[in-house]
Amino acid sequence: MKADVVIIGSGISGLTAAALLAKHGKEVVLVEKNRNPGGSIRQFTRKNHAFDIGFHYTGCLGEGEILNLLWQHCGVLDKVNIIPASQGGYDHFEDPATGKVIRGYFSYEHLEEELIANFPHEKNGIKTYLKTIRTNCQDVPFYKTDLPLLPFLRGYKDQVNSLSSFLDKTIEDRLLRSVLEAPGFLYGVPTRKASVEVHSLVAHGYYSGAYKVAGGGQSVVNSFVDAIRATGTSLSVNAEVTSIQVKNGAVTGVTLYSGEEITCSQIIYTGHPGQSLALLPPSVFRPAYKSRVRNLQNSLSMFAVFAESEKFVDCTTGALNYYIFPKTGEILPPQSMLAPNQRIMLMTSGAPASSKELHGHGNDVTLLSTGYWKDVEPFLKNDSPRRSPEYTAWKADITDKMVTKAEERWGAISGTLTPLATATPLTFRDKLSAPSGCTYGAMHCLGQYTPDVRTRLSGFYLSGQSTLMTGVVGASVAGLVSAGEILGLEDLWRSIRL
């Protein structure tokens, strides 16, 4: 087989890059080692419930916004039904210590009003915080789409402002601080390691609007797959790349587990950068780069309980997600001795069905809590695809505790919950090929430089959450940039904005 570009991994980065490259005339082969395409944004089913692994809601889907532009250019936008959170949509943040509830509106104006009404003595701090978030996104082309890409992407960026120090100076109230730190859950970085700059990039999207997609992430995956196949691009599943061939300092092709070889002159690798090294001859990168990529610190993992709810969880009334903070301590500590049900936990409803109304697909919810690699370390001794009975019992206990807590707090909304599946950091590691079960790739945090899309190996590009930014938006943008490095960044950017 022969292609211009082989893309390894069919998550939203790979799908986006494939659609863009194919649209601009490249012959693309997209290879996925799993049985189903979609990576973290696909769904899985249990008892007629389709559960989203990673795509619960996103920003940047409003008209003229980056994801909207990209999906339009890729021929996907008119195939999916985007459902904006209702006017007055918010995340429900609950403080178990006081019982107080704060609404995290998906709107700067509403959010500011709500925060000042609840914390009047912190008015100046609230204004400073929100202004800082906005200002930090002013020069970011993915938010200000009339800006060119290159000045933002090239060169060395310093990232030295600590979110913790900034909040120490700006905010006093513990609950208010937790509400402002909460977007950290959406990029998986403990607050003490977070930078104001990265926090701004994520929080700005979220304070500017939230969107669900009818049919969840799976409908995005399906629409991309249809769009890609319509261009003649081949998508191979169960196709694991076992090695990448290099000749005279440039890539020449890949070999699959089946022994099949695909000749190509360009490769986009969308997995965790640390794992790409094993596919390449050891001499292609220098020790400095290899040790940097191999030693990347990864984002937090999660515990996820996928459950059938007795009641239909309705999102039309305003709350998109229900969060509860831990009783004491930070909401996103670097490590946690608390049980997962005692950490920050959230309940989110299933994907809306394909209609204009923002309502659940049926009666299902997902409970999420932060996960740490340390949580599963006791079970690594006999680490094999077949889990030990101790692990299974431990997982059942966590499931039970998370369900009990959710029923206690939100039973009036959800009714009783019947868990149908649970994911731990081990599950995320194995199902998403994510080292230490990280749900947001390598951490975009203080003191860590995540790798560039370009590498020193000619024709070899990285993509995915570990490169530029996290989440659906971050990974899509990484897909855009990796395709742009091949097609010409500014030309591609211009054609997307037309």
Partner: protein, 86 residues
């Protein structure tokens, strides 16, 4: 640390981490033209130097002003001195 010690350490670490010939790493050698490093190596270089000299080099202007190994030695010596004063 003396200039000489800093220079020697830079020679050792660049040879090791960037697979360069020690003989080519002279004070006059340009990082980009002579030694063939480019913007893609800049971040790796910062990380290696931060680790080697136990420094924080988080200022884009500073990094951009470095062209030769000699510039780099002066820069590190200056940074080290600033740290001692503080």
């Amino acid at each position: 640390m003396t200039d000489k010690e800093v220079f020697q350490k830079i020679v050792d670490v660049l040879a090791e981490e960037f697979e360069l010939n020690k003989e080519e790493i002279t004070l006059e050698a340009s990082l980009y033209e002579k030694l063939g490093l480019d913007s893609l190596d800049a971040v790796d270089m910062v990380i290696v130097l931060e680790r080697t000299f136990n420094l924080k080099l988080a200022n884009e202007e500073d990094i951009r002003s470095i062209w030769t190994i000699g510039d780099l030695v002066n820069f590190i010596v200056k940074k080290k001195a600033e740290l001692t004063v503080e």
